[in-house]
């Protein structure tokens, strides 16, 4: 056979790369209920579509050549539901998938190629951080930073991350840059490992408190979902991407409209209590308005007074931003503002029309809020909303008071503001307003308090809002879905064909 020696050597080298960190380490990975780096790619991509890039890359240290197949990061292209994407899958069995000059070069190639060709970048993260001894000393550390655009994020393409084990250093940085993150409940995400952190600060560290999924999902708000398995994490990345365009100059893919899609909204009168003292779960309202089964919550365990989700109305992708009365009565706090801002930036960057559902008593005010920069966060959110150039619609359902009325799309801060006939709009909650404006407390003079409350509540109805043409229509809640579907049709007629101006593409949203 011609080239016989070459063929044999090529096959030997391929087998060496495909064997990753060796049978023993792979078996250990399997025994822990984890997929290996290549099995994860198989789960991610449509069968037979993976094209590996950099299989023969290895450490630049000669003594490590045989021990660093693919240099610990498996990269390439493949298709997800028929659409191209790029992947970096960290191989923990090779040098703990630590970052080295060569594999960082591979990552850079994947990122640049994904950007140049308008396809999502998928990061399957599991890495101990920078490789030692490669990065030691001035020569090691000074060799880093060869790519001055490595951490530039203009949101031309979606980045998605799964955190599937320890994720420190570069794996952590790219998770921070990602639009969506799913994390295993036994994984760790932090700047450095608990061990390194303990040594550095000489304090005993609880790994979950430092780097656990609940910390990331509930306190920090970076992680969207905590999951038990690799498969769940990877499937969630695919689900998220199904709502997004491949790049910022496309609109999101449309889906078929499920049968009976209009039925949910007919039950809205039962979902939202007429009694204003009673709360309800806004997530159910979103589910009733959107196509059945299409609502996909984002950051659902973080800043829960704000609800953010992707969904579909008549097959078209929309971003749902809502206050949720189930939590703190729907009063917005600094974290809710951050969550809303990040969501608005996501939707605007990827041409996703925004639907805002409003039932909020306002912003939570107080010393704690001021200490946590509430004014800056309120106005960040407001700026973000005004800079959004995708179609924006809002529905005032019940309460909408003060500045929060504007932050949630009031008057011309959305393209079309609708009001349910139950809407109630004013400068602040009437129960507080009586005291603020007239200095009368209910306990001192209940009769006078009620009279003044009536006075404050005058002219605060949905019809008053429509009378000055701030609301474009007063609607029956059951008509919400049909109204939004028609408004989406009208506002997609723009000459830009649904592609926005992306004024916030480069906004950092990790705060």
């Amino acid at each position: 056979m011609a080239f016989e020696k070459h063929v044999a050597e090529h096959e030997r080298r391929k087998a060496h790369a495909l064997a990753m960190g060796g049978a023993e380490r792979l078996a250990k990975q399997k025994a822990q209920g984890r997929l290996n780096a290549r099995e994860r790619i198989e789960r991610l991509f449509d069968a037979g579509t993976f094209l590996e890039i950099g299989m023969f890359a290895r450490s630049d240290r000669r003594e490590e050549w045989d021990r660093t197949p693919a240099d610990g990061k498996v990269c390439g292209y493949g298709r997800i539901a028929g659409r191209e994407a790029a992947v970096v899958s960290h191989d923990i069995t090779v040098k703990s998938a630590s970052s080295s000059p060569i594999n960082v070069r591979k990552m850079g190639h994947m990122r640049r190629t994904a950007l140049a060709n308008g396809m999502p970048l998928v990061l399957l993260n599991e890495s101990s951080g920078a490789r030692i001894p490669d990065t030691m000393g001035a020569i090691g550390t000074g060799t880093l930073g060869q790519d001055p655009t490595q951490f530039v994020r203009m949101r031309e393409i979606p980045y998605v991350s799964a955190v599937l084990g320890p994720a420190f250093g570069t794996a952590c940085w790219f998770t921070q840059l990602s639009d969506f993150v799913a994390m295993r409940k036994d994984a760790q995400l932090a700047i450095s490992s608990p061990r390194v952190t303990e040594i550095a600060i000489r304090q005993k560290i609880d790994p979950q408190e430092l780097a656990g999924w609940r910390m990331q999902a509930e306190v920090v708000g970076k992680v969207d979902y905590g999951v038990d398995t690799d498969e769940e994490a990877i499937d969630l990345l695919k689900k998220f991407l199904s709502y997004l365009p491949s790049h910022h100059n496309e609109t999101p893919p449309r889906a078929a409209v499920p049968a009976g899609a209009d039925e949910g909204s007919r039950g809205l009168l039962e979902l939202v209590p007429e009694d204003r003292a009673k709360v309800y779960d806004m997530r159910k309202v979103a589910a009733a308005i959107c196509d059945p089964g299409s609502v996909f919550p984002l950051k659902d365990r973080f800043a829960r007074t704000a609800f953010t989700a992707l969904g579909r109305i008549d097959g078209q992708v929309v971003g749902i931003l809502a206050s949720n009365p189930m939590f703190k009565a729907g009063a917005m706090d600094p974290d809710s503002c951050d969550k809303a801002t990040a969501f608005l930036v996501l939707c605007d960057s990827f041409n996703i029309p925004i639907v805002i559902l409003v039932d909020t008593p306002g912003f939570l005010i107080g010393v704690e809020g001021e200490r946590r920069k509430a004014p800056g966060k309120v106005i960040n959110m407001m700026s973000a909303l005004q800079m959004c150039s995708v179609p924006k619609f809002s529905i005032v359902m019940r309460k909408s008071y003060g500045q929060a009325y504007l932050n949630m799309g009031g008057t011309r801060n959305t393209d079309e503001m609708l009001a349910w006939y139950s809407a109630d709009v004013g400068f602040m909650d009437p129960n507080v307003g009586v005291n603020v404006v007239y200095g009368v407390k209910r306990e001192d003079d209940p009769k006078r308090f009620e009279e003044l409350k009536q006075e404050i509540q005058r002219d605060s109805s949905a019809y008053d809002l429509a009378g000055i043409f701030s609301a474009v229509a007063v609607i029956d809640p059951r008509e919400s879905r049909q109204w939004l579907a028609r408004l989406l049709e009208v506002h997609q007629k723009r000459p830009t064909k649904g592609v926005g101006r992306h004024l916030m593409g480069g906004w950092p949203t990790t705060f």
Binding site: E218, R276, A277, K278, V279, P325, M326, F327, K328, A329, A331, P361, D429, N431
Partner: protein
């Protein structure tokens, strides 16, 4: 068995206890309802488990961040 403390998200008064110690809870089941800002606001289970103890009584004033119940997970 690990325990999880359930905290009040908001300052207010305990209006109604809904779940009793020993009861199995799914994530987001209502444990008690508080009255705050003239509204009835539920305190829900952050994780699934058994309600081990209630740390507050009906009518009691509760501050934001105060522990109100313990769940065994």
């Amino acid at each position: 068995m690990a325990t999880e403390k359930v905290r009040a998200e908001i300052t207010g008064t305990v209006w109604k206890i809904v779940s009793q110690p020993g009861q199995q809870l799914a994530e987001e089941d209502t444990i008690l309802i508080m009255e705050s800002m003239k509204m009835e606001i539920p305190v829900i289970a952050p994780v699934k488990g058994t309600l081990a103890s209630l740390l507050v009584k009906e009518g009691q004033e509760v501050s934001e961040g105060q522990d109100v119940a313990v769940i065994e997970t």
